[in-house]
Amino acid sequence: MEIELVEIRDFLAKRPPFDALPEEQLNQLPKSLEIRYLRRGNLFPPGDATQGYIYILRSGAIELRDEEDNLVEKLGEGGIYTTDCQLIDFGRATHGLAAEDSLIYQLPCDLLKVLRKSEPAFDRHFAESIRDRLKQAVRTLKDNAEESPIAQMTVEVSDLIKKSPITIDINCSIRQAAQLMSEKNVSSVMIMEQQKLAGIITDRDLRKRCIAAGISTDQPVSQIMTTNLETIQKNTMAIQALMTMTRLHVHHLPVLQGDHVVGMLTATDLARHQTTNSAFLASDIRKAATVEDLAIVSERLPDVQFQLANSNAAALHVGEAISCITDALTARLIEMAEAELGPPPVPYAWLCAGSQARHEQTSHSDQDNALLIADEMKPEHEAYFEALAKKVSDGLNACGYVYCPGNAMATNPKWRQTLRIWRKYFNTWINKPEPMALMLSSIFFDLRAVYGNMEMFDELRTDILNKTRGNGIFTAFMAANALQHRPPLGFFRTFVLIHGGAHDDTFDIKHRGIVPITDIARVFALDQGLPPVNTTERLEAAAETKVLSREMGENLVDAMEFIASIRIYHQAEQIRKGLTPDNYLSPEELSDLERRHLKDAFRVIQEMQDAMENRYQGGRFL
């Protein structure tokens, strides 16, 4: 059969939602359309419409504005306006006009209704709220994930441990433990005291601490067991577990759910499931003897990111994997520095800040770090920590984590301080907030200990959260800060549409997409005194409190995941082409659907920023 009006059919066929129509319906669709021409400056929708229509822009441009005449949306070729069919798509728009001479297709609402009834896939496009659309978008990203080996890097530990935990009571003898291990054919056993994990023993412990040491096998297991255990939670990512083992030089990690023992993860479990790439990366980091060795290893980081992105691993997990590798590199550099400088004179912790702390790093971002030193530090110890900071920071720079332009590094004496001074810093930032200070210091509100004395850092963090929790003035300042970066309105042709109606050729997806969400999450976390640092975890925790609705929380999490995925694909493409990955995205890189989903994500951010502006009266302080 000859298809009439094939040009119009083809125009619709490649655009959502019409691309969801079956061939037959699509071929019939042009016949249901009417065509109008709007001269520049004419009202849109046309005032003389005799019934409700959905409008599809064939050529030209339409601007939609709100009550105060602010631009809300600019439609270009393929743009769709559905408001007159009782579908609220441009919530805040109250009027519009043709910004250019425009050719418009119109489809009566009644016909749209018939199509929606008969075609569920088409209907979904209209029926879905932003929330459902974003969820679907994120789900599609994940569904596309192949079962490629590299994707295995992002599996959780609970997927790798098969056996139920092998445990033995603390009062049992060493021989009983050895018998149990033989019987179960395992290389380690967990020692329980009451219902709690007290320690573990491994084949090596039996050899070194029992037989070689000449201890009787009748002795209780507590004689030779390892206490002060490092454990991991069952939802930890495999890559992170691998990095933890590598850092601690252990082959066994008890896996917990809360306080409850659920299994034992062994290096063999990991090796079975890790790709050669990540396993090599981990073991190469461990084996590296010099900074040069590490620099060679870290050259593979963009490849790892590229492969992860290509395997469609969730952006959340890519950021986590990259951050873990950076943690491991940092820890190895510190070990090297300590080997050279000798053991530290007083306890300390190496802190990372910013995206690494949030577990949201992409390969080779700037380094942001600090040193937290025990209060017993004497002036003569200063030289040791200065030297340590310099070695590690130079090492990171050699590994591609360039020096922080803002000098937020442990090499800066200001950020190499005792617990007492850090407390004072935060006290000042929180109780006497100043816009400039906040801009500089907001980086330190995303903070995590990578190496050293973790308890000291926990103490500092608890102190910080106690001070920020429910602190109205501080929160208002942070909220105002969170409103500094606004997302674009959307896209228009090959341009990015920004507030005020100006156009940009590219947009900075980091500062206009990711930063606004991380800023919002930080405000909630500090206001509510929530410990998580990762943006998704902060939002999930905040959604359990009264400051953030569950729905908005989910929307923000999905928006973050979608935007971060687009960023990672963008960077993967640059890596593939041998370019240096950046954050500047051109609308031409995006498919129609991606543009649409990104616009949904932007709208979620904007709604949240508007709400935040009201709630915390954000604008008042800046």
């Binding site: 009006l5 119009i8 125009f11 009417e34 065509i35 050719l103």
Partner: protein
Amino acid sequence: MLTRFLSLDALRKRALSKAEPGALHDYLATPLTSKRTQCEALSIVSLDLETTGLDPSKDKILSFGLVEMQHMTIKLETARHQLISIEDEIPEASAVIHQITDDQAATGVPLDEALPELLQRLAGKVMLVHYSAIEQNFISAACQKLFGAPFVIPIIDTLALARRILEHRNHTIQTGDLRLFNLRPRYNLPNYKAHNALSDAVATAELFLAMASDMVPQPSQCQLRRFLTR
């Protein structure tokens, strides 16, 4: 040549008196659209014919495509594309342009079946074409041959309008400037790749909407006579 001084309606009445009973007679019995009709109230039929050549005495109509407009809105549900079967083979040169092959043309109907439908669709309406000589002359020739009288209709010719506009603006008109697909970009209209009678009829209709809004920005002052060729 006398016809030049007669009103269109007088021509219609004269033709009506000559026409044999049948489709043309019925067509001519319907009053023509008045040239003072407001644009909003106009019923316009945008028409395109594909022919084997330019000479109505020798060449044949291969197909017609049309679409109607009301309230200055193109109603695609009225779109119609009809192939016409001819006894002779289609000359190769025109087949290349229209992409109508003999096989396709064989699926068409003879002109004496197609013409009554066309006349019925045009009755009482305004005919919109790009370069009126083809449509006017070929339909008229067919009417003379089949019904013994000429075809009369108020015509809007986008090519003539374009020439008028360009001359008015003192543009030097180059070869090809007045072709349908060279005029459309001037009005921000999209490029159509397909080239058949129906898509050209739609393209012409869109061009007219654009020209009309350019020539008469105030819809209330828009009357048919602003656009008529004669």
